[in-house]
Symmetry: D3
Subunit: 287 residues, 6 copies
């Protein structure tokens, strides 16, 4: 279960409120690379965990921390919107076109729906979507999803860092960027453990499926679908076409794409599905 503290995990200061930046921060709250997603993702992975227990514990710890990051960002949105209060009415009703234009870059729902508060949505107002919460029951697959989330999240945070010169916002983002560094590292630590010190043992994921059941002709073959004979990759000795496979279990090869199956043959339309009569007649006359 959960507890809270009225204090923030890290201080949030805004020297010069900027409603446009408030809109950009929403991507880090409710976007696919944002904090609601990682918070729920780590917690669902913990709640669904069937062992080992030490991973469940870590997921609960970090999922709980992410909740504090949503709080910091929502607070930053609210503080950036405060600056909008003085001029908003005058500008939107059109008295000053330049200021109006700047205001035009804010999310209008910050005022209309939120009364100058944060939303559970991204920088375009698209709502957070629960489909982004990945919890597969396979720890390695989950950890790659987590590394990806922290990577695209850190990319986002560095871009936000670039787009502000407010010292308070830069300080807050410096904190969040640092936490993403740690989180990338800790999910990799799990992968290292799962691979007994060598990430390659982790693959192919899931590694509990008997690999001899997979088609042995195509499992380490790069399929080149490029039709242009003047730009073949065949023979170019790429890392993914030659040499030992990354999982250490085979050799990479390459092939030009070609059909291994026939043209599909479906049965004629069922009468009860009400295709057009002509369709049915012709399809049956072919059979």
């Amino acid at each position: 279960m959960f507890y809270h503290d009225k204090k923030l995990q890290y201080k949030v200061r805004v020297e010069k409120p900027n409603p446009q930046f408030a809109r950009l921060l929403q991507q880090a709250i409710g976007g696919i690379e944002g904090e609601i997603r990682v918070c729920l993702q780590y917690l669902f992975q913990a709640w669904n965990s069937r062992g080992p227990v030490r991973y469940r514990d870590m997921l609960l710890d970090t999922g709980t921390e992410e909740m504090a990051h949503i709080e910091m960002l929502a607070t930053a949105v609210a503080l950036n919107l405060e600056g909008a209060s003085g001029d908003l009415v005058d500008t939107i009703v059109g008295k000053d076109p330049i200021v109006a234009a700047i205001m035009g870059g804010m999310d209008p729902r910050h005022y209309l729906s939120g009364g100058m508060g944060a939303l559970a949505a991204d920088a375009n107002g698209v709502p957070f979507n629960g489909s982004w919460v990945v919890s597969t029951g396979n720890t390695a697959a989950d950890m790659y999803s987590n590394v990806n989330a922290e990577s695209s999240g850190r990319v986002l945070a560095t871009r936000l860092y670039e787009l502000t010169d407010d010292p308070g916002m830069k300080d807050m983002l410096s904190f969040l960027i640092a936490r993403d560094t740690m989180h990338q590292n800790q999910w990799l630590a799990v992968l290292e453990e799962l691979g007994h010190g060598d990430l390659r043992n982790v693959h192919p994921i899931p590694n509990s499926f008997p690999q001899e059941k997979e088609n042995q002709d195509v499992n380490y073959v790069f399929v080149n679908t490029n039709i242009d004979p003047s730009s073949p990759s065949v023979g170019q000795n790429r890392r993914w076409t030659h040499g030992k496979s990354i999982d250490g279990k085979s050799q990479f090869r390459e092939m030009k794409a070609q059909p291994m199956g026939p043209e599909p043959q479906l049965g004629p339309p069922m009468p009860s599905a009400y295709a057009q009569t002509e369709q049915i007649v012709e399809a049956n006359s072919k059979a």
Copy 2:
């Protein structure tokens, strides 16, 4: 640009059509771990690529291959629905409760909307969603998203393999599982190249942001948010709390969660946002 061949990449046979299994296959077509997502994800990463060119080429090759996988799975859905034709009407109108019950497990939209054909949706009929297509402009972040997609995709395919005893379906899935093995490997090969042979050089992602700008107090510290003094992880020497960080750039440490920021103080409600009068009065009397 793109070309097609009327033949399939690999043969698709269904010996005993099964409309329930057709529903399950939809997850591999239109689910978050399905083929429409990886097809579009690799192609958008290619189209957005600003170099190196060899990664763009590979992404185009494999994105094009994934289109053929959607085709195989859609064909498998259509073939599995054929078996439903004989009995469907009788059973749904209620003459045979057991058969009706089995039919109950199919996606009714396979008949109602698709006329016994595949949909761009998951196993619950939830439509494919473009938000799943990740293309960040940072190759390492993208590759982790790709490894995750192929990992959760291979997990899904092995579970589908478990849920059928149709030899044709097992054969098709064996092919797709093998391709997932290759694709996991090839995205890892890019990460290996990006890290000059050591995946750890890749991190923290993005590695082009000056790391000295991130908060140095918290970037390699595991935050333990567990409030229960009887189950501390502090002192337990986990891989993510002690020793060299996975990226090789620091030492892991651990701290108990504690606020580093004050309780937030927002301004009082703006009159123009029309909070309740009592709110405004009390908030202002506090200020």
Copy 3:
């Protein structure tokens, strides 16, 4: 910021695992009347709060409690899915039609995507949607949204209670139903305070907008749109057509629906919007 405890807020026991009931429980996790929604709704209302502080504190307290309810329900889903392990493979591959039929009522993504774990989705697999998180900046409007959420949530919980005879599940639901009772009461307590002891003072919401600016002819008039002269409500003395208005500020009246505005007249199609030529010609010839 937030802390957690590895223990649950209340015990979760499942005596006879039931994957169909696991599916039903998802509505209470990721549905519009579920716990993710109230958790995020109360927390966003807190984070966006501009006073009074005591409401912010209460919202933080209860938002944090709701996180523990998601945890309880996710745990209940995972425990209900355990029972599926023994028979699942045999049944879905079709050896036992009755058991297969029962299994047919489970959410297939609980296995395919979740590996027998909970999802951030409703009972039909539709993902949680951030648009449900209401935080308007007007405390009274927010409290009515909260009372509604706890009312539809308690309705849902009582229906789930009806659909199980597992003593553990009944016990857990009895706890959650009780908490909904408290939460309905506490949001009403805020409304009582806002209305100085009389809920009617709260209305019309927002009560800070000068009511004289609203159209005085129609603000306490029930509009009867029923066209059938044989079933008029006019003259039937309903509570909403006669007597003092509920907010105590006027008298209810009733009117038959009739237009107060003219037929709308839009300008002709703009050339640059490329309507059909015939449209443009005829529209202009009318003008």
Copy 4:
């Protein structure tokens, strides 16, 4: 503006309530081919209409009629769910596996969220989505969307007709199927008028754009992307590769797909977008 009558447009009778059929009917309420979509689509087209007025009037008439169809279908759902009342509790708690299995085919939200009432969702519980409401400002484009909506809607209704043997439901569907016949015809009548009696004059839509601005080399050429030399369509004299074009303005031709553009060349990654360092270095060294 709008009025209502407590009576239905056409009678709705259910002799043998069937909760599975209630679920199927939802597709005709909240699905992409359902009645909420056509109701809103025709009304938005009317409200956005800039002439001719007689099309606006017709759209208002029929949009209003569609509202009555939603009402009939929602009533049919509620009546089909009544039959579930007697046995529901016993069956879902597991006492009778066969009945439970049949119940398993109902939408659980009909009980959990709706208390045995209809939802604004499709047969899989996926909510109605406003993106389906097409109103382009070009009457011909809109009419084709309307013909499509009434075509897929009539296909759906005939399939529902097939799936019930309840005389009341068959009678209601016979009414709705007939109305779809009329509505297909009336939208075609508009197209006939727009084309001065010949549908071909309507095309290409929009016909107000100066056609000489479109690329004259490719506007009546069928592009054959098939790579397999053994199955060319070239030379097969299809209706879309030879003869006068359907719009009567040119001759159809055919070409094998081939690039008309070069390989795209994007600039190197911008420093401020934080790609990986290696990417940036290599991309710039190529430039």
Copy 5:
């Protein structure tokens, strides 16, 4: 069933067309607090109503009225977009940066997709979503949803009123604000009737569930999750921690949050769900 009148319920005038304001009005059409939602919500509640009949009648009346409000707002959007016609092309192609900037605040889909007409979407272009239509089968729960919808709707309308100085728009909004006043009152009138004159009898909702089945230890206890010992609410005598409960059925109490359940124990991973081998081995070795 339904009828229409070509005249509007109330006049809609725009003196100075403003495409930015057209965008803002969309929130009142297709947003969660908008008119499509209340229209469908009241109608579905009516169609699903199983008594008393007088509530069904009122819901039909007001649902029908709301349709006329969508019409007024869609007309207002179309009229506000007319002003964009003269300058649009010049400005977006960049000849005048200031005007271009102002145009930048409009919804581009008003032109691209709608040809200067309204959309079934909110102020950010996010489509209307059927999940917002609440109809629970419990009249009290439904009425609270309705009061909330009219409260957040009136908040929105007052903010729109603030953002325009067009006399026609102010007049239209004054009408809509007035109707929201009435609608708040009429839903409260139903709650008053349901409570026999005292709203408190309504709670806890649903009041038909035997309250003795809910956990008696926690149903009137405020759970304080705040971990900070320096800011306890315990002892502060809030309205929600002391005194008679609002529903009049008990006394409020308060407790500090503490676990009432154990740490959850899930079974080990099922082999058929293909967790990583190491996971399975370690989890089983613990058991």
Copy 6:
């Protein structure tokens, strides 16, 4: 299966990069009238096709071509965003309000999430949605959906053409507009074939349902729902109220809307659905 060529189908040049135009182009990529939709729609129709084979072949050809159009547009987005690189940082941080304002019209996720690359979303950042992919199993219904898609798509392309003065963009759009011309024609060619040269034989769709089963009283009757006696359409001799029906099978007639069904009577609330007690009592006392 599918192949690709690194070259584009047609050249994509941008002389003056314009991030606002990049946003507008997104509508043609990920909007409901965009290229991802038609690409997947034609391919799913092909994969689900049960004959005639020549339609399947054509759908594969054109679906494959559409993939190349997504590629062209994504490339155009990336090239239009290049121009943003020089000034972006300076402007968004607020040093130049006019430039900042122009930047305000771009999609911030093009930078934040895409690193200056295209997204699978529309001009407002709303993700592509798989529900738009129509494949009914009835060729005529599908073809009308295809004609509609190419009509609204061509309308969109002509509007984009209007909004740019970049010669490269105008050239690319001229190509795409031309292809839409061809595609409208080719889907109409199928309808012509299905109707044996007369489109009217196609209707009513599906034409394989025995038309005598539809209600013969209402299938060619226009229902006039207009309540205003001063603006009747009755007697006005519209094309849809008099004369031969468009499908040639009957005569159009007109009727004023009137109920053909009684007021619906639902049973009282089920006890187990937990309506309010008062509801249940009153509803039963009426029965």
